[in-house]
C-alpha cells in the first residue's frame, strides 16, 4: 500500500515533468506517428511502383513463400497483395522502435533532470526504497511508450482502410500481431527504459546515455531483417518465445539496475 502510494507519487511527478516540457510532449506524440507514417509510405511506394516486379523478385520470393506457409490460406491473393502482406507484417516489429526510442529518451530525461537539480539526494533521505524509485520511473517512461505504440497500431489499421487494403487485415492482425503489441512491446519498452537507467548515471550527458541505451534498437532492426529476407518467419510460437525471452531479460535488467543504482555513487559522484 505504502509502496503503491510512493510509486504513484513518482509516476505523477515524472509525467508532470515530461508533459509540461514542450519538447518531450512533442517527442512522445509526434515521433511515433512519424515512424509509422514513414513505414506506411515505404510500403505504399514499393507496392504501388514496384508492384509485380518487386513481388516476383528473388529477394522477396523466399520470404513470401515462407510467409504463405505460416499463414492461413492466401489463395486468391495476387502477387502485389502478397508483397503488401509481407511488408505490412514487418510493421508490428518496426513499431517496436517506438517503445525502444521513447522509453530510452524518457529514462535519460528523467535521470538527467535529477542530476541537474541534484534532487536525488533529498529523495534518498525520504522513506522511498530504491526499487520503488526505479519502478516508478520505469513505469513513467514505459506507459507512454506502450500507449504511443498502441495508438500507432490503431493508426496503421485506419491507414489500411484509407488505402482500401482492408481485405488484408485478416492476414495482418494475426496472433503474432497481438503478441508483438501486447507482450513484446511492453517488454521492449521496459527493457529500453531500464537500459537507459543503467546507462544514464555512467554517461557524461544525455546524448551519451542515449547512444549507449539506443543499442537496443539494433536487435529490433535485426528481427525485421531476419524476417523480411525470408530467413525466419515469426510464427505465434516464435513470437511468444521471443517475448518471454525479453521478459526474462527485463527481470535481469531490473535486478541489475537496482544493484547498479548505488546511493553512494549517486550522492558522491553526481556533481
Amino acid at each position: 500500500m505504502a509502496s503503491a502510494r510512493r510509486i504513484n507519487n513518482i509516476l505523477l511527478r515524472e509525467w508532470e515533468a515530461i508533459f509540461r516540457d514542450l519538447n518531450s510532449a512533442l517527442f512522445v506524440t509526434c515521433l511515433p506517428v512519424l515512424i509509422l507514417a514513414q513505414a506506411m509510405v515505404v510500403v505504399w511506394l514499393l507496392a504501388h511502383y514496384g508492384g509485380e516486379a518487386v513481388a516476383t523478385s528473388s529477394v522477396f520470393m523466399t520470404a513470401i513463400a515462407r510467409m504463405a506457409g505460416a499463414m492461413p490460406s492466401t489463395d486468391g491473393l495476387h502477387n502485389v497483395d502478397m508483397l503488401r502482406l509481407l511488408l505490412l507484417n514487418q510493421l508490428p516489429l518496426y513499431l517496436l522502435l517506438v517503445p525502444a526510442i521513447v522509453a530510452v529518451a524518457f529514462a535519460t530525461f528523467s535521470i538527467l533532470e535529477e542530476k541537474l537539480t541534484q534532487s536525488l539526494e533529498p529523495i534518498l533521505a525520504t522513506p522511498v526504497r530504491t526499487w520503488e524509485l526505479l519502478l516508478g520511473k520505469a513505469l513513467s517512461g514505459a506507459v507512454p511508450a506502450i500507449a504511443a505504440t498502441w495508438v500507432c497500431a490503431g493508426l496503421l489499421v485506419a491507414g489500411l482502410h484509407v488505402l482500401q487494403w482492408d481485405h488484408l487485415l485478416g492476414w495482418v492482425m494475426t496472433a503474432s500481431w497481438y503478441l508483438a503489441l501486447f507482450l513484446l512491446t511492453p517488454a521492449v519498452a521496459l527493457l529500453s527504459f531500464l537500459l537507459g537507467i543503467i546507462a544514464s548515471p555512467r554517461a557524461a550527458d544525455s546524448k551519451a546515455a542515449q547512444n549507449i541505451a539506443i543499442l537496443i534498437i539494433l536487435p529490433v532492426m535485426a528481427l525485421i531483417g531476419i524476417q523480411v529476407t525470408g530467413q525466419v518467419w515469426f510464427t505465434p510460437i516464435l513470437m511468444l518465445a521471443i517475448s518471454l525471452a525479453v521478459i526474462v531479460i527485463d527481470i535481469m535488467a531490473l535486478f541489475l539496475a537496482v544493484r547498479l543504482f548505488r546511493r553512494e555513487t549517486i550522492v558522491s559522484g553526481w556533481r
Binding site: R6, Q118, A125, T126, P127
Partner: protein, 314 residues
C-alpha cells in the same frame, strides 16, 4: 544519558567512512540531545557532509555504530527517514514545479501528510504567497527556505542540515538562522555542518571541530577556555614598571607582559583573582584606564586546532 538526563537522539561511536583508500571520516564519536544544536565545523573535505549522509542513512558507514532517533541508519533507513529531516547543501528542488507542488511531491513519500500541513510549512517559511510560482524564479534564500520546509514537512525529531546558509545573503542567512533557533526551541535535535565560524558560535550549543576526525567538541566558551588561558588586559594611564614588578611574581599570575601602557596578565582564576590584581596595581601607584578580558575568537580556536593537527601529522 546526556548531560540533561535524556537519551541522546543522535549518538555515534567510532563512526568511520572510507571511499576506497580515501579516509573521509575517522572514528567519530558524538551525541546530540533533543533541543540541542551541534555544529560540525571544519574546512572543505573535512568529512562533514559524509558524516551527515551516514547519519541520514544515505550512505553506509565502513565501521562504527550510529543510532539516530532510535534507529540504526544502515539497518533500517526507511524507518529512520520517517524520523529525520535532511537538508542537503544544494536545495535539490524541481525548478519547473511550483513551491507547493515541490513540497507536495516530497510529502508524498511520507504517511498522512495533508494539504493543511503543507500550507502550514509554506507559511512557516514565508512562502505561502509565492506557493504557485515556479521555483526556478526563486532566489537562493527562498529555495533554501523551501528546502527547509521540505525537511520539516513530516515533523521529524532530528534535523541534519548541510551548510544551511552557504551562499545566502546576510539577510537570508539571518532569517534561516532564526528559523533554526526556533526549531531548537521546539525540541528538535539538530546537527548542522558549517565552515562559517560566527554562525557556529551564535547558533550552536556545542561545536565539534572536525578534520576527518574529531579534533575537539564542546561549547564555544569551553573550547576557548580549554585551548587558551584567560588573559586580562589592563590599560594604564602611563607606563609603570613598578606596577608591573608588583604583580608579576604573584602566585595567581601565570604570566605578565608590559608593552608601554598595556599590561597583559594571564590569571589562574580570573573571576576571583582579578579584583586582587587590580588592588595590587593601584597600591603600586598605577592609574588604571580600563580592564578587559581578552576573548579569543572561534576563528583563533579553530585555526589553532587545525595547526596543532597539522603539526601532529608531521
Amino acid at each position: 544519558m546526556g548531560q540533561s538526563g535524556t537519551a541522546p537522539l543522535v549518538q555515534t561511536s567510532g563512526l568511520t567512512k572510507k571511499f576506497g583508500d580515501l579516509l573521509a571520516v575517522e572514528n567519530l564519536t558524538l551525541a546530540v540531545e533533543a533541543g540541542q544544536i551541534l555544529g560540525l565545523l571544519g574546512p572543505k573535505d573535512a568529512g562533514k557532509t559524509t558524516t551527515l549522509r551516514m547519519l541520514a542513512g544515505i550512505i553506509a558507514a565502513t565501521s562504527g555504530q550510529a543510532r539516530v532517533a532510535g534507529f540504526d541508519p544502515s539497518a533500517s533507513p526507511e524507518k529512520l527517514h520517517e524520523m529525520i529531516g535532511f537538508l542537503p547543501e544544494s536545495p535539490g528542488l524541481y525548478g519547473k514545479l511550483s513551491a507547493r507542488r515541490n513540497l507536495e511531491y516530497f510529502a508524498g513519500f511520507y504517511r498522512g501528510i495533508d494539504g493543511s500541513r503543507i500550507e502550514a510549512q509554506l507559511k512557516a517559511v514565508g512562502l505561502w504567497e509565492r506557493r504557485e510560482d515556479k521555483i526556478g524564479s526563486f532566489s537562493k534564500g527562498m529555495k533554501q527556505r523551501l528546502a527547509l520546509a521540505r525537511a520539516l514537512v513530516h515533523d521529524p525529531v532530528v534535523l541534519l542540515l548541510d551548510e544551511p546558509t552557504a551562499g545566502l545573503d546576510p539577510q537570508a542567512g539571518r532569517e534561516l538562522r532564526q528559523m533554526i533557533t526556533t526549531l531548537r526551541e521546539q525540541g528538535k535535535a539538530i546537527i548542522l555542518s558549517t565552515h562559517n565560524l560566527p554562525e557556529a558560535e551564535s547558533l550552536c550549543d556545542r561545536i565539534a571541530v572536525v578534520h576527518t576526525r574529531l579534533l575537539a567538541m564542546d561549547t564555544p566558551r569551553a573550547l576557548r577556555e580549554r585551548l587558551f588561558q584567560r588573559e586580562i588586559e589592563v590599560e594604564l594611564q602611563k607606563p609603570n614598571e613598578l606596577a608591573y614588578k608588583s604583580i608579576k611574581d604573584l602566585p595567581y599570575v601565570k604570566a605578565a607582559i608590559i608593552d608601554g601602557c598595556l599590561l597583559r596578565v594571564e590569571l589562574s582564576e580570573p573571576e576571583t583573582m582579578q579584583p586582587n590584581l587590580i588592588a595590587t596595581l593601584v597600591k603600586a601607584g598605577a592609574k588604571i584606564m580600563s580592564v578587559t578580558e581578552k576573548r579569543h575568537s572561534l576563528e583563533e580556536i579553530y585555526l589553532d586546532l587545525l595547526h596543532k593537527e597539522a603539526d601532529g601529522k608531521r
